[in-house]
């Protein structure tokens, strides 16, 4: 099954995520985020067998499983087969303060890591596009230790200077104290991961900053695809590419259906 082709950008992003995870981390996986899900599963199957993963209400450990059947349908009662426990959503939400890492997406992500799942437009009662809603991202991203933002579509339409609405607070209008002065317990967004690049935030003003280009991506394209002035460091860090074993596990055990190998975003 494993074909020795080069890692795709999405596979590389998943490997990046996997490498951020410490063994024992408590991680919550939301719906419809195959790249983060792949990263978490890869970590569990390599260096983080004790990572504690919840998917909706199911607390699973997937370290020893042969393969995961469908990365696109992770929030599904079928995962109950690997569950060590099943908790109510309330218990889950009230355990957020213990969560080391969570993920959110957004219709819009702004330069300070605020995200918008509510809708696009100026007038709430006459939106150009109504989003799916915040799910639990407001509460989870306010409280969990840190979170990563996943961007399906790296374009100026998605990566905007300012969100029309904010569903999960990142760094507000910027500044390292913007969360603490609101009393938000969590440390905020750490990375923004798109199919083109990995970004983080400047320590002082909390503006978004390029960290790594993903394989096959051009700097000028990333700059043009971002709807605000992305901070470009003088020296762009090299990202150690996925190893053969990481790719093999991704392709043979984590992502059998090839969500991360499709070219479409």
């Amino acid at each position: 099954m494993f074909v020795k082709t080069k890692a795709t950008a999405k596979e590389t992003a998943a490997v990046f995520i996997a490498r951020q995870i410490n063994n024992g981390d408590y991680i919550s996986l939301g719906t419809n985020l195959p790249v983060p899900a792949a990263g978490v599963l890869l970590a569990q199957m390599t260096h983080a067998p004790d990572a504690k993963i919840n998917v909706l209400s199911y607390f699973v450990n997937l370290a020893g499983i042969e393969s995961f059947p469908d990365l696109g349908q992770i929030a599904n009662p079928s995962v109950a087969r690997w569950a060590d426990g099943i908790m109510s959503v309330e218990q889950l939400i009230y355990g957020i303060r213990r969560m080391d890492l969570c993920f959110t997406g957004g219709l819009q992500i702004d330069q300070h890591g605020n995200t918008n799942l509510i809708g696009i437009g100026d007038d709430y009662n006459n939106l150009k596009f109504r989003g799916p809603g915040s799910v639990g991202t407001s509460t989870i991203m306010a409280n969990c230790h840190k979170f990563f933002i996943y961007v399906h579509d790296h374009s100026p339409r998605t990566l905007v200077p300012k969100c029309d609405f904010i569903s999960a607070y990142g760094w507000g209008n910027g500044g390292a104290d913007s969360r603490s002065k609101l009393g938000l317990p969590g440390e905020g967004p750490k990375y923004v991961i798109s199919p083109k690049a990995i970004m983080d935030f400047d320590d002082v003003n909390k503006n978004m900053r390029l960290k790594h280009l993903l394989p096959g991506m051009e700097l000028t394209d990333v700059i043009q695809s971002t709807g605000f002035d992305l901070i470009i460091p003088e020296h762009l860090e090299e990202f150690e590419p996925p190893s053969e074993i990481e790719l093999q596990i991704l392709r043979e055990r984590v992502d059998l259906k090839g969500y991360l190998r499709e070219n479409k975003e």
């Binding site: 419809n32 009662p77 407001s138 317990p185």
Partner: protein, 297 residues
């Protein structure tokens, strides 16, 4: 005297929901949705409903599409990787129905406030977001211990709450045998609670593992027997989501909001209005199709 049995028929259950009621829908996204109950209510075209639901999917979209909803309160409407949905994503929101912007942690806090009989539960969950300005029921509250202010979420109550679960006895003791999502909180906040189940079992069967009981009869007003009653959604321990069915719905719903209601109307006629009762609906879907939804490898 002997104990009262709570088992009623689907039409009896649907008649408990009146025009203008607030209706809570249990389950989560595409799992454990009380579809048989909802189909029966949709057949009646009960109107001006306020719908309160945790993350939801096609069931809420259909209610919107049928024009039954006045106000929608849900943190999410979608179907994960299966498909985006119809009316909710269109220009209908804010016009054909209103939305009271909600978030899951906030919904849980509001249900919790009701259960605890307090006027509010404080949360930091939506501090800094747009939600406090979009949802007029929320207020700021000072922290008497000197920290920054929080958001106060007032109690949420519903006229009727609809739940899907694995099994119950005839007295209304319910066992999900899996995730309860926020069904317990929803039930606590419902003036009336109707539970549809895959099977009705004996009281003795329930008492074999009383720790598995997820709703005791304190919280249940009626039980309805609806095998395959969550279709096309998944029913934990019983069958998976019928993704193709949802995709079919999404096609007709999308056409509808683009001004071509014919396919939507056909769909409604075929699956809602024509089948006389739940068994007839299942036969319309086809038993072979239903059997194929069992758990795979």
């Amino acid at each position: 005297m002997s104990r009262q049995q709570l088992v009623i028929s689907l039409p009896e259950a649907a008649a408990m929901i009146k025009d203008g009621n607030s209706v809570g829908i249990g389950g989560f996204v595409t799992t454990n949705k009380p579809m048989a109950l909802l189909r029966e209510i949709m057949r009646l075209r009960t109107r001006n409903l306020t719908i309160i639901a945790p993350p939801s999917s096609m069931e809420v979209d259909m209610l919107l599409g049928l024009g039954m909803v006045e106000k929608l309160i849900t943190p999410y409407l979608g179907a994960e990787a299966i498909a985006p949905l119809g009316p909710f994503h269109s220009g209908w929101a804010g016009k054909k129905f209103s939305i009271e912007e909600m978030e899951l942690g906030t919904l849980v806090a509001g249900l919790r406030a009701h259960a605890m009989a307090v006027p509010f539960i404080p949360t930091r969950g939506v501090v800094g977001t747009s939600i406090p300005s979009l949802n007029p029921t929320l207020r700021y509250v000072e922290d008497p211990f000197g920290g920054p202010p929080l958001i106060a979420v007032p109690p949420i109550e519903m006229d009727v709450v609809l739940i899907h679960a694995s099994q119950a006895d005839c007295y209304g003791n319910v066992q999900h045998l899996g995730a309860t999502f926020i069904d317990q909180l929803m039930a606590q906040a419902g003036k009336k609670v109707i539970v549809q189940v895959e099977r009705i079992v004996s009281s003795e069967e329930i008492r074999r593992q009383p720790e598995n009981t997820t709703l005791t009869s304190e919280y249940v007003d009626a039980v309805v027997l609806t095998p395959y009653g969550a279709h096309p959604m998944a029913s934990q321990n019983h069958y998976r989501v019928d993704a193709e069915f949802i995709k079919e719905y999404v096609r007709v719903a999308k056409a509808c909001v683009k001004g071509q209601p014919e396919l939507f109307e056909e769909f409604v006629t075929k699956y809602l209005d024509n089948p006389h009762g739940h068994a007839a609906y299942l036969e319309t879907v086809g038993l072979e199709r239903l059997f194929s939804l069992g758990e795979g490898a």
